[in-house]
Symmetry: C4
């Protein structure tokens, strides 16, 4: 099968490069990690940063198209990260997902190392489930189909998944939404971590959580947050040469 890319889809290169740079500037991604987006012109195509290009200087040409069903890069050039299974297996099972971020944020990892589950403690984590996010109970690389499937099953219908002693996977209804979800997940993890250092945090739940979740998030919330972090990254010079 040959997948023909819609010319309009080239916009994904620039958008994903920008998304990765914003993640690096917001300190939720380092020299590993990837952002992908599902092609709106072909739901079987995803775009993802390649395995070699530095995350902090990524440009559109470092983003590659990928055939989800075939499990293969489209066209020639540098391959996607060995963990592309994370993205492909989720896109296969979740038609509602159009953006995914996988990275290794510090506070999410610290919580996972002691068996604490990421749970909402603040409005910034208001999109997280009150009972806590699911956990994939293994620290190994997700670089085989079997591991990818197991991980996608652990995620289920959730928007965020902890990978024990490894990192996190978050989804979104768009690339921007997935980036916002990752930044908010780590911000909530930091507050949760800081609270745990001095006591027993009161987690948000029930009616209170419902109210908070309804007052933030969604399309409006995504635009507001994305704009803020994009602007912050730009002021710090993190988008230069994009």
């Amino acid at each position: 099968m040959t997948t023909t890319l819609n010319p309009a889809s080239t916009r994904y290169g620039e958008l994903i490069a920008r998304a990765v740079r914003i993640c690096v500037a917001a300190q939720v991604m380092d020299f590993n990690g990837h952002v992908s987006g599902r092609d709106e012109n072909d739901p079987n195509v995803m775009w993802i940063n390649n395995r070699h290009a530095s995350r902090s200087t990524l440009t559109a040409k470092d983003v590659v198209p990928f055939d989800i069903a075939a499990g293969k890069r489209i066209g020639e050039g540098i391959e996607p990260p060995s963990e592309w299974y994370i993205h492909a297996e989720v896109y296969k099972r979740r038609p509602d997902v159009h953006g995914i971020v996988h990275s290794h944020p510090e506070f999410i990892r610290a919580l996972s190392a002691v068996g604490e589950i990421l749970r909402p403690v603040d409005a910034i984590g208001g999109y997280l489930p009150g009972e806590g996010v699911p956990v994939f109970d293994s620290p190994v690389l997700i670089n085989t189909a079997a591991r990818g499937e197991a991980m996608a099953k652990a995620l289920g219908v959730a928007e965020a998944l902890m990978l024990r002693q490894h990192g996190a996977v978050v989804t979104g209804f768009s690339i921007e939404n997935a980036v916002v979800h990752m930044i908010c997940a780590e911000a909530n993890a930091k507050m949760q971590y800081q609270s745990l250092q001095i006591g027993k945090p009161r987690y948000l739940h029930g009616e209170e959580l419902k109210t908070i979740a309804s007052e933030g998030g969604g399309k409006h919330g995504t635009t507001k947050y994305w704009t803020y972090w994009e602007e912050t990254a730009r002021k710090a010079g993190a988008l230069n040469g994009l």
Copy 2:
């Protein structure tokens, strides 16, 4: 009722833009949060940053006048933040208050998440009551009159209020004083937080607290502190283009 603004009151735009930038530079405000000031030419008018403009690049034109009794923006243009009730309800009840800051400082939030009350541990928190500040026991947005009233009642005659898992509201006899109070509240919260990590802090109280409070604070203390943080913000480039 039409409120006619005194031409001299335009100075509030520049002052509040400066105050917001100083709060951002001092890391007690991020992409949300607001500073307001009561108009000395009309106690029923307050000035506040609008809901959209980026806090880190705010200028005078992004500050809007507001009719407190009528609960409405004066003139046309971008609206104030949805949480303007915080400010209006306090100005209605507290003729001594001429400046208010609401934001989400990290250490105040962390204390609140585990039920610790902000109490003075250092000279920098010398203006706080020995028994601790009052707490508004809800993390939801204060975007209705009922929530604003409840919050204002929780504040009572105090100068600082914790909003559980949300942030803080502080008042001042001037805009500058409110800013200084917020920065000092968070600095004290940080020391309290750090102390709680390794033991049981000895809180300042009684005669000792009285002596400390009398040696700092007030008009003289406000000028000294404001000048320091303004200068620090300027050196960091945070006031460029103001």
Copy 3:
């Protein structure tokens, strides 16, 4: 009594301005705090930064000479800090002291708030006594002769003193040595604080501490450390315009 200053003593202005800037760059001094030095041409004269000038932009002209016995600034102009008693009372009692730093380092204050005594945990704190430094048990400003005397007695023959919930006073055989002592005291306090967060630190003592103390410190150690922090401050631009 009129004190006539030796023309050669003007070198103290530049040296103290440099010392204060190095303390600020090394994060052991903020907008308060002072460095003084005893005049080698007249042991009754000390030089100290004045009460108003910003610590981060201090220059030689902001440093004032002071008559220790008379308890008065020499000449006209801006006064020394209200806490000049700290310096005068120590110089009166300690002919071996030629430099003093008073400031409010974060980790020393945090330790003091929970009753932990500063004790050597690392080679960088090797000059501290094994049993811990003395503590002045009050957080008030030391702005009277009585408080200055009490503080000087608490210091005794030691080189470092904790001021409970206030800060620290350290002495040196030179201005450079006092600055090095303050930076090392705070570096040791940070390691002590970090260790206390996760367990019970093993404090250095006995023969081990003697060996470590003999291998660092003194005139050679002072020059090495001062040079490092001076160079670090210069690279960060902290000495510009000195």
Copy 4:
């Protein structure tokens, strides 16, 4: 005995200067610490930064050749650090070692001060032994042959050694590998430290650790990591003038 240096060996000067700068930029080395490499043209020769030159501005001319068997600098000029015994004693016993780093990373020191052993908690520490690294139980300078021998025996066949309340020594199959090992050891120590603040970390072990170790590390992992930190250092200006 006169050791004649192979002209090709001059490349070690530039490489070690670069390695030291990368360590400083990655915050695993401060104003003390050293990097050495065994000369591939003569296994009895090692190259090491001299004792005086600032670690953050080191250049090739500040790196000196050293005769391991004779225990003497080759040629004239500034001497190596007084702790050259660390390097010489390890090279004598370990033909597999071609690079060594000794420094005083903050989190490794904090762990050592409370008796915690560095153990793998994350993929970044996957090269560490599951049971934890060996510990040299003394904080004194390793500036004699006896101390160097004792330390080398404590290290044994391991790749990383904690020096109690002092720092760490790590080895590598190349200079680059030793640098990567030190940065990864400290990154793991930080995660271990952070986890210990809020609970009991689950250490990696058994099959899980084997899988992780086999998926990272080695020659390929070294190149990837070294490139990332070198690039990070360059962007921060840390390699200017090299």
